[in-house]
Symmetry: C2
Subunit: 204 residues, 2 copies
DNA sequence: ACCTCTATAAACCGATTCGGTCAATATCGT
DNA sequence: ACGATATTGACCGAATCGGTTTATAGAGGT
């Protein structure tokens, strides 16, 4: 495991990205080490040299992804932004940053939910679930509720935006290349459209 | 091929659903006939007996799915509903109906976009693309634009709702069972929340 | 009771791919 | 030039692939 950590950042990243891509596309059983090796441009043997086994690779990638997930969202200082929509724009911006680094990380993480095969599943599911709840709470805790029109439930708006971002990311994922700034702008203007209709006129 | 058509509806449906599920989950190469047979509760030989080959099965399922897709959306008479939001609620309702019959049909259809392997790809992609454009147009053509507040572009709203439905369906897909009515209600109330904020007060 | 036919399954085919090992080689610091 | 190390390609037995062929169980006719 130490051998891998001593590689230069670029190579490490290429291998990690290859792993995330493959494990994001296939479930554990059908994702093959050879595929990861090919995608990373190294020989299969190196994977086993670095990670010992397929499971070792898988666990490393899980750890890495979860770490990225947590550090980006939780330590991003999102709760310091008090405006609901600003916070969500920050949220989507963060998600885009993660995706620009590892486009299929979310597929990879999402696969945990579907994967009903491996042993570590229980641990992973509970951990992800916990972090998801945490992330969701973070979008609502200490937020300026009074800016909303009276008849609007902020929880509903939060759900809408989460689905919207999810659906949008789904579309983005299929584009061969993506322009981070253009995407961020489109998403931002969309969210602002919601804002301008859900906020009291005083706060626009 | 005729042998298959002569089966009773229940059995046919089970095989079709198994095929859609497997081909929806994996790309063409990694989806195996054995898996489909197991899922359908029949022996692999029968698949070859009914469809001749893996490709035969695949093409049958494509045809079936596209047929369902088209007949549900295009022939559903959506353009006869003039209210924008009513139309979208009809749209989501239709999508749910399709999913309640074959939960992974959309994954299956979506896989065409990702699949860069098979020969028929070109035909399929163009066909789907066409139908998608058609479906999108159908949500906007002859719709009551005057109900919207002046500063709102109806195309933006259409995009929002499409992403929203997509993201929501993504979540629904992961639930082990799903209550069609409850889901429809949740989606409906969400869309109505948008409606009540995007329409002029006169039309509420 | 016997035969035939048909639907289905099980066994099997060669080819490929799987996770994993290992000996051989390319690379590099000294 | 040498020894250490990084990396590879060939190889292993096992599993699985798409597809074929044989075996079997039962329905129906006579």
């Amino acid at each position: 495991m130490t051998a891998f950590e001593e590689l230069n950042e670029e190579k490490k990243n290429k291998i990690i990205d290859a792993g995330i891509t493959v494990f994001g596309k296939y479930d554990y059983k059908r994702a093959s080490v050879s595929l990861v090796a090919n995608e990373a441009g190294i020989s299969k043997s190196m994977i086993f040299h670095y990670f010992g086994s397929k499971r070792g690779l898988y666990e490393y990638l899980m750890e890495y992804s979860f770490q990225t997930f947590v550090s980006t969202y939780v330590e991003g200082g999102m709760t310091q932004v008090s405006d609901f929509f600003d916070r969500f724009m920050m949220f989507s911006r963060m998600q885009l940053e993660v995706m620009s680094k590892h486009r299929f990380m979310f597929d990879f993480i999402l696969n945990f939910y579907i994967e009903r095969d491996t042993e570590v599943l229980d641990y992973v599911m509970s951990t992800i679930e916990k972090s998801k709840k945490l992330g969701f709470q973070m979008t609502l805790v200490d937020v300026d509720r009074h800016k909303f029109k009276e008849n609007i439930k902020i929880e509903d708006v939060a759900k809408i935006i989460q689905w919207l971002i999810d659906g949008y990311m789904n579309q983005v994922k299929m584009q061969p290349y993506f322009d981070l700034i253009a995407i961020d702008n489109e998403l931002k203007s969309t969210i602002m459209l919601l804002q301008s209709n859900f906020y009291k006129p005083d706060y626009l």
